[in-house]
Symmetry: C2
Subunit: 179 residues, 2 copies
Amino acid sequence: MKNIQDILKSAPKAKQRSFKKGSIIQSAGDLKTVPIYVKKGLLKSYLIDNNGKEHIYMFAPENWIIGDLEAIQYQQPAQLFIECIEDSEVIAFEKDCLFNTQLDNEQLAENAQTLYRRIGRLQRRVLMLMGATAADRYQYFLETYPELPNRVPQKMIASYLGIMPQTLSTIRKKLASPK
Amino acid sequence: MKNIQDILKSAPKAKQRSFKKGSIIQSAGDLKTVPIYVKKGLLKSYLIDNNGKEHIYMFAPENWIIGDLEAIQYQQPAQLFIECIEDSEVIAFEKDCLFNTQLDNEQLAENAQTLYRRIGRLQRRVLMLMGATAADRYQYFLETYPELPNRVPQKMIASYLGIMPQTLSTIRKKLASPK
């Protein structure tokens, strides 16, 4: 069974690119967008609301896929910005290469598991935004991204969780203090 | 190309069942849960938070699939309740039957599109909960569920959108009044 990186290596339209920290590689309104596999580095996608406030939709460290899947699937202009938080190496690809009919059935079934996992994560994220306390939200972040607490500024984590940076600071202090 | 209902007809473990309005067919904490295809009727899934408040995760009218995909995918106890808003006929199935290796490649690729569409919808829902005005949220509901505004009580729509029922009432009155 191949992993996604191996599949992308043989995908005809996949393109590897390098970006410096701070590069914005997709902007809201872009008409042609594709999903991006992260080989190395760290990216974030975010929405800017009508009041100019940034809301982080997701982080993508190594081996994650990031993209505006609604825009890609429904052929709409992008809603999300995608920006490199660290110097990053990525592979831009066509989403259908994961379900290319040249792949064998077992591979297709395996790739479907990747989509199921993403749906499971998104379900949790919706429920978190609707009904979870700030402390539970931070717990969810730690479970989803165990490698990120010290790689991402606190302000960004708070934006991702939909809580105030001060609230997050209080939660982190409590977790760090001896019981 | 078969549609999902046709695939389920030939799936060995799929079970058709009928439920009366008000039946709760899955509860938080249930250990064995499966996705459910809606043949007829209308269901909702919801979370009850620590304060006893209900948050509606989704509605599922005819041809939708409803389930606790996080619980199914990660083999965890269910977080969501699933309840019939109307008398309903459903087919409970094993999620992997949509990616059974006996299906041909084109069918598998087609079924993957169903998952992509769900991810696109969930992305929109997360962004809506983070950064959209109440009026934009209601617009999103109308686009996602054009057949539901008169089938679902206003209180439930407000719960789904994460807004107060009074706010929704004001929005609906504005939309109904001549300009």
